[in-house]
Amino acid sequence: MLVAIGSLTAMGVTLGTILGAAAKFLAVEENPLEEELKALLPGSQCGQCGFVGCGQAAAALAKGEAPVTLCPPGGKAVIEALAKKLGVTADLSEHEEKVPEYAFIIEDLCIGCTRCIRECSVDAILGANKLMHTILAEPCHGCAKCASVCPTDAIVMRPITVTLGTWHWSKPGDSHPVH
């Protein structure tokens, strides 16, 4: 009886020590929170937050070095999702909900320098050296990086307008109380 208790206790203590040591010395450096935050971000690597890409932004968020309002293309939805995940209250006072935009090349001004092509993170710009470029509106996510590098200001950001297919009724006025 005593032998059994003693041997089990000894085993427990030894194995526990090994496990404890393993957790300390073999620990994975990466913060699991980072991966979760990265999944919430748009993943377009546009760099508008000031970090190189979404992964670096997620790392900064996890460390608490960046505000949840850092992602302009994500809009309110991403801010709220991040705030919920991090358990903080988002400061929406300075947040302006941006109208979604897409980049458009004024073809007369394009000199075919390919600078915008190198900036585009989703390969939405077509063209070659000294040939006019054009932007496919469908994959463009409106990061405006191409517009900022264009030497001739040939790229303008245009708002994505409401069409018959995307129009819907707006929210009924708040004069209609429902309790």
Partner: protein, 500 residues
């Protein structure tokens, strides 16, 4: 035939007597026709004509493009005056690309496809193709391309074609008149559709406030034992295909499924007549019957109008306005949508144009909910409108979606019944639109993510290739220095644009 109980529903004042006893009149040619490229669900049609072209009646002006689409045809002979943006018959008043046709007054037919001599012996594909090239879409209002619905037989096990003649919306009598005056054509069209679907049984569902239509259709169907004309109880929204199917079979269509999953395909009676014309005479869909009604109209009546006729011309044909219209409605008063102006055309899905006076509309101020629960009792979809609206009001669309707001058919029964005049269905239309927006955004984000990942991989590959090339060059240079012979040309790697 045994009928089954359908839950909920309301009994509004039908007000069909303004037009139900008047025969369909044909409207003469207007000064111009405005034919939008998109009058249906799916992709807009692609124009085949340019400004200045002379066209004949029945000529295809725009062909369908993509899997879900429908072509547009010239409803008379004349000249293409312009192809430009014109306000759509839509509550937003947003413009859409429209072909403007100036009639030459001759109304001359062009070359039409040959009539299908015996439609019950030809291959079903021939019928599908004819319906598709004739530009026929669901004429009950949804305007879904009919040819696609006729091919459902190849994907699902079907047993019944249900012709929808319920016409449960107040005011509207266009289907009623069509059934009274053209019953034989509708029955023939229905038989052709049944053949195309590969089903033998046809049921015609008509609300029992239309005894003459029921009599006419029963008479026309009497020669065919597989056709049954059924009088269904008057209960709005009986004309919703899910509810009509439930009344006739007792089976409820599951959420986000089609009635075809229960083996039943539902088509409007006017669609059946259009298919009759297309198959028997080769005529594309050029006209439709529209109920013009409401107390503000001087002569309410059912008019057979050419697709593309401006509403202002149609109202003028009906004697103009006798009283000031407070609201112009496209469709019925329950599910129809208000129109900002009369400068829009009649399209394939226009079933009615109502000019309602202030007495006919409910603009009562909203008062607080008294929790009577009537909206829950009458919801024909078994939802809880009061609860959903409360969450939507607080911008909690996620919870509203969990409560089933996407299963709402926007029939408007809850708004109609609410003693506090809370615009419940407006909340649901807003929520459905916003949830669809969010869904679109999510899909776009996923696509951007995939593209960005592909881009990163490509950039890395290019960098590696460059490095390898540089190394090869160096090695080659070293060899050259050693042997003093001509170096082989180094592989040049150019950053090439790949269309992802």
């Amino acid at each position: 035939m045994k009928l089954f109980q359908v839950r909920g529903g309301i009994h509004p004042d039908y007000r069909k007597d303004q037009t139900s006893e008047k025969a369909i009149v044909v409207m003469p040619l207007p000064a111009a026709l405005y034919i939008p490229l998109q009058q249906h669900i799916g992709a807009p049609a692609e124009t085949l004509v340019v400004e200045g072209d002379l066209v004949k009646k029945g000529q295809m002006l725009a062909r369908s493009q993509g899997a879900v689409s429908a072509p547009q045809h010239a409803a008379t002979s004349g000249r293409i005056a312009a192809i430009t943006e014109v306000p759509a018959p839509h509550p937003s008043g947003l413009p859409q690309l429209t072909i403007i046709l100036e009639p030459d007054g001759k109304d001359e037919w062009g070359e039409l496809p040959a009539p299908i001599e015996n439609p019950f012996t030809v291959d079903a594909h021939a019928i599908h193709n004819r319906v598709a090239e004739s530009g026929i879409v669901g004429m009950g209002g949804a305007a879904f391309p009919s040819a696609i619905k006729l091919t459902l037989g190849t994907q699902k096990k079907l047993d019944t074609l249900l012709l929808n003649g319920a016409e449960c919306e107040p005011y509207l009598t266009c289907d009623d008149r069509l059934m009274r005056e053209h019953a034989a054509e509708i029955i023939d069209g229905g038989r052709i559709m049944a053949h195309a679907l590969g089903v033998s049984r046809i049921v015609v569902g008509i609300e029992d406030n239309k005894p003459q239509a029921i009599a006419a259709m029963t008479q026309a169907a009497s020669a065919f034992p597989t056709i049954e004309v059924v009088a269904v109880p008057v209960q709005y929204p009986m004309g919703s295909e899910r509810h009509l199917v439930q009344a006739i079979t007792g089976r409820e269509t599951p959420a986000r499924k089609l009635t075809a999953d229960l083996g039943i395909v539902v088509h409007n009676v006017a669609t059946a007549r259009a298919i009759y014309n297309a198959v028997r005479f080769g005529r594309p869909l050029l006209t439709r019957v529209v109920t013009v009604s409401g107390s503000a109209v001087r002569t309410p009546q059912n008019v057979e109008v050419r697709i593309g006729t401006k509403l202002s011309d149609l109202i003028d044909f009906c004697g103009g306005f006798a009283l000031r219209p407070e609201r112009i409605i496209n469709g019925g008063p329950m599910m129809g949508q208000p129109l900002p102006s009369l400068d829009v055309p009649v399209v394939k899905g226009t079933s009615g144009i109502l000019a309602l006076t202030a007495e006919e509309i409910n603009d009562n101020p909203t008062s607080p909910c008294i929790r009577c629960g009537t909206c829950v009792t009458i919801c024909p979809c078994g939802l809880s409108p009061v609860e959903m609206a409360a969450f939507i009001r607080k911008d909690n669309l996620e919870t509203a979606a969990k409560l089933g707001v996407m299963d709402c058919i926007s029939c408007g029964s809850c708004s109609w019944v609410c003693p506090s005049h809370i615009p419940l269905v407006h909340y649901f239309n807003y929520a459905k639109g916003t949830l669809n927006d969010q869904d679109r955004e999510r899909r776009k984000n996923d696509r951007v993510k995939t593209l960005a990942e592909a881009h990163t991989i490509r950039v890395e590959k290019v960098a590696e290739a460059k490095k390898a090339a540089l190394a090869a060059k160096k090695a080659a240079a070293a060899v050259t220095a050693d042997s003093e012979t001509t170096p082989p040309p180094a592989p040049s790697v150019q950053e090439e644009k790949v269309n992802a």
